[in-house]
């Protein structure tokens, strides 16, 4: 185990601690090798790859439409954005534009999924800090979102809702009223979470000034999404490179100041509120019309290569696709946010205690299947 960390022999006061792959707070299957001095962490190496499923290679053997269900499995906490990114990539490659109604439906679904994903973050983060109750509160609200998804596409986890050129089906008639009811209830529930966590003295001491990520370091490592916005870096692809009609919505990009665990927490909490606003606006302005553009049955995009990225709940999510003009992509590269975010863990947690490592890792909101793909 010692050769995994470095070649410097351990002193008598140091020891190696193998955290994971089976450990309650590694959020899936991650292995951390920790060099410890008592409770203090001297070094930490994440070992990834336990969930590798060769999704990129599989893509080369599937048609563009057939690959859509595989994108669900990249990030199971937020499948809709993975779907959307793939649909947008292929549309950009083939020069298709989804009809306005489909674009609005995509926005509604991805924003609801962003809330659901941030709720998992909130629950698991508080669980990592030892507070069990917010975990179940968060899952209670997530259940309402899953009910909405089930109404729409019949699935509760891997939605496979987006299609190249649009979405798979229109929303049912009572979706709008149920969704409005959800946003109305949810805004109050966010206040509840904040009441139990945001100004709790124990929570503050556990999160303030812990794991400070400077903007430069974060950018060098490729951190994105709420992780880098918590440090105050104003970078949201929904604003910077609007896709799927995001330029028509009025929303703010919450930013943190210090880049510590608490800032990453509060950015996500505020993002949940903003997502509620976006969902309400999209429901208000939902245009009539088709939900899917005309796409030929045997879909052959022109040869070429394309990069498309979106703002997934965990940060920048994108695909690089090389097409050789056949029905199957020649090469697909998936860029996921968690991979970049996980890399800063080593920088962030040196010198802190093992309890802080858990808090820092929770605040990065890493989903391991997304890291390994």
């Amino acid at each position: 185990m010692s050769d995994l960390i470095d070649n410097v022999p351990l002193t008598e006061e140091e020891f190696l601690l193998n955290m994971g792959p089976q450990h309650p707070s590694t959020h899936g299957v991650l292995r951390l090798v920790l060099k410890m001095r008592g409770e203090f962490i001297e070094d930490v190496i994440p070992h990834i790859g336990y969930l590798h499923r060769s999704i990129e290679k599989i893509a080369e053997n599937r048609t563009y439409a057939q690959f859509m269900p595989y994108t669900d499995r990249i990030d199971y906490c937020a499948s809709m954005p993975c779907n959307l990114a793939w649909a947008l990539t292929v549309e950009k490659l083939a020069g298709i534009e989804a009809p306005p109604r489909a674009q609005y439906l995509r926005v509604i679904m991805t924003e609801l999924n962003r809330i659901a994903s941030h709720l998992i973050y909130l629950g698991v983060m508080s669980l990592d800090l030892g507070a069990f109750t917010p975990f179940l509160y968060a899952f209670r609200e997530r259940e309402m979102i899953l009910d909405l998804f089930e109404m729409t596409c019949g699935q509760r986890l891997t939605y496979n809702y987006m299609r190249i050129g649009g979405v798979s089906r229109d929303i049912p008639p009572d979706f709008a009223s149920k969704c409005r009811e959800f946003t109305r209830i949810f805004r109050k529930r966010v206040d509840d979470y904040e009441a139990i966590l945001t100004n709790n003295p124990i929570f503050l001491t556990r999160t303030k000034n812990i794991g400070i990520l400077p903007i430069k370091v974060g950018l060098d490592y490729g951190a994105s999404g709420p992780t880098i916005r918590g440090s105050g870096h104003n970078w949201d692809i929904r604003k910077a490179e609007p896709y799927s009609s995001y330029d028509k919505f009025d929303f703010k990009v919450p930013l943190g100041k210090n880049g510590d665990v608490w800032d990453r927490y509060i950015v996500r909490v505020q993002e949940m509120r903003e997502s509620c606003n976006i969902v309400d606006q999209a429901l208000d302005g939902l245009p009539e019309g088709d939900i899917k553009a005309k796409v030929p049955g045997v879909f052959k995009p022109p040869a070429g290569e394309v990069v498309m990225r979106i703002e997934a709940p965990r940060g920048e999510m994108g695909y690089y696709v090389v097409s050789d003009g056949t029905t199957k992509p020649y090469r697909v590269k998936i860029r996921t946010a968690s991979f970049g975010n996980l890399q800063v863990l080593r920088y962030l947690s040196r010198g802190y205690k093992i309890a802080d490592l858990v808090a820092i890792f929770g605040s990065l909101d890493v989903v391991l299947p997304e890291v390994d793909r």
Partner: protein, 351 residues
């Protein structure tokens, strides 16, 4: 009346007539009655532990908008019995290179020490197994045994997580022992005794005379320090699941694990019982007019209220970090408990 005193006199009458008819001496009668009292306490506590585990799950569930166990019996009241049977059937695993005798004795120490405290707890009027004149000192001495068992378990398990848990526990419990002891001393000065029986007598059946009012600071410190002694959230560092997986009891399975588990819940009831005896008037009713309710019901009600408070903490707060925990003990609780002690002593001297 439903007082326990009547039951005890009845048992004593039967036993003494039986023993004298058999021609046995008074000493054997005394020994028999002490064994009987011990057995009664053990049975009561075993049932109490099972009840507390069920209750904790119910309290947690209702805090979290859930139902908790519902399938086994009425509202799942048989669930802990089912769990205990499951744990009894489990294989007792001792890891390789474990310190086997220490590994074996750690849960026994934990389990035995939490029973020993109850010798001096007055459960009700006349229901006090041994009225030691140093009762409070005895309680403080015995409750400290828990840390020995945790350090033993952490050391013997041959596991780094267990060792970290054991070390955390040692520093935590020893630190919190100091404010815990000092917080009780204010009440001891006011009562002028260390005997638990006389403590209850000193407070009387008047709610305004209970030591919780003049000693409110001491009561608060006792509650916080004893939550830390119990290793429960927000101070559950020795077994912090998200950090140390299960901490000191990570390598325990089957009945040995169950003994740690039961001991934790019994210690929680101990805290409730001690707080009741010292601060909340013991088995006395709050008003003399309410003395028609049997004293043991008052005792149980007050103790379970304290237990409920501790459960409430657990299901509300996040966990503190180990250095904050120790800083809180030495920098906040210790000066406060000293101030409380000095103020109480001055008050007693003046009035």
């Amino acid at each position: 009346m439903l007082e326990l005193t009547g039951l005890f006199q009845w048992i004593y009458a039967i036993a003494s007539s039986l023993f004298s008819s058999l021609g046995l001496s008074e000493i054997i009668l005394d020994i028999f009655l002490m064994v009987l009292a011990g057995a009664a306490i053990i049975i009561f506590l075993a049932l109490m532990a099972l009840f507390l585990i069920w209750w904790e799950r119910k309290v947690a569930a209702h805090f979290q908008d859930r139902l908790g166990p519902m399938m086994t019996g009425w509202h799942g009241w048989l669930q802990t019995i089912a769990d205990a049977i499951k744990l009894l059937q489990k294989e007792d695993i001792v890891v390789a290179n474990a310190d086997r005798p220490v590994h074996f004795w750690a849960p026994v120490v934990a389990f035995a020490s939490c029973f020993m405290v109850y010798a001096v707890i007055p459960f009700g009027k006349g229901a006090l197994a041994a009225d030691l004149n140093i009762g409070i000192l005895y309680i403080l001495a015995i409750t400290t045994f828990t840390v020995i068992s945790i350090v033993m378990a952490g050391w013997a398990s041959n596991n780094k997580y267990a060792l970290l848990g054991g070390m955390r526990s040692a520093s935590q419990v020893i630190s919190y022992e100091v404010p815990l002891t000092l917080s009780l001393m204010g009440a001891v000065i006011m009562a002028g005794t260390l005997s638990t029986g006389q403590f209850v007598e000193a407070q009387g059946p008047y709610i305004w005379k209970w030591f919780v009012w003049p000693q409110f600071l001491g009561f608060t410190i006792y509650l916080m320090a004893s939550t830390a002694e119990l290793n429960r959230t927000p101070f559950d560092l020795p077994e912090a699941e998200q950090e140390l997986v299960a901490g000191f009891n990570i390598e325990y399975s089957g009945m040995k694990f169950a003994m740690f588990f039961l001991a934790e819940f019994l210690n929680m009831f101990t805290v409730g019982a001690v707080a009741t005896t010292i601060f909340l008037g013991g088995w006395q009713p709050p008003f003399p007019a309410l003395s028609f309710i049997p004293s043991w019901i008052w005792f149980l009600g007050k103790s379970l209220f304290i237990v409920f408070l501790i459960m409430w903490f657990k299901w509300t707060y996040p966990r503190v970090r180990v250095d904050h925990l120790l800083a809180f003990a030495w920098k906040v609780l210790l000066p406060l408990s000293f101030a409380n002690l000095i103020l109480t002593a001055a008050g007693v001297l003046i009035f």
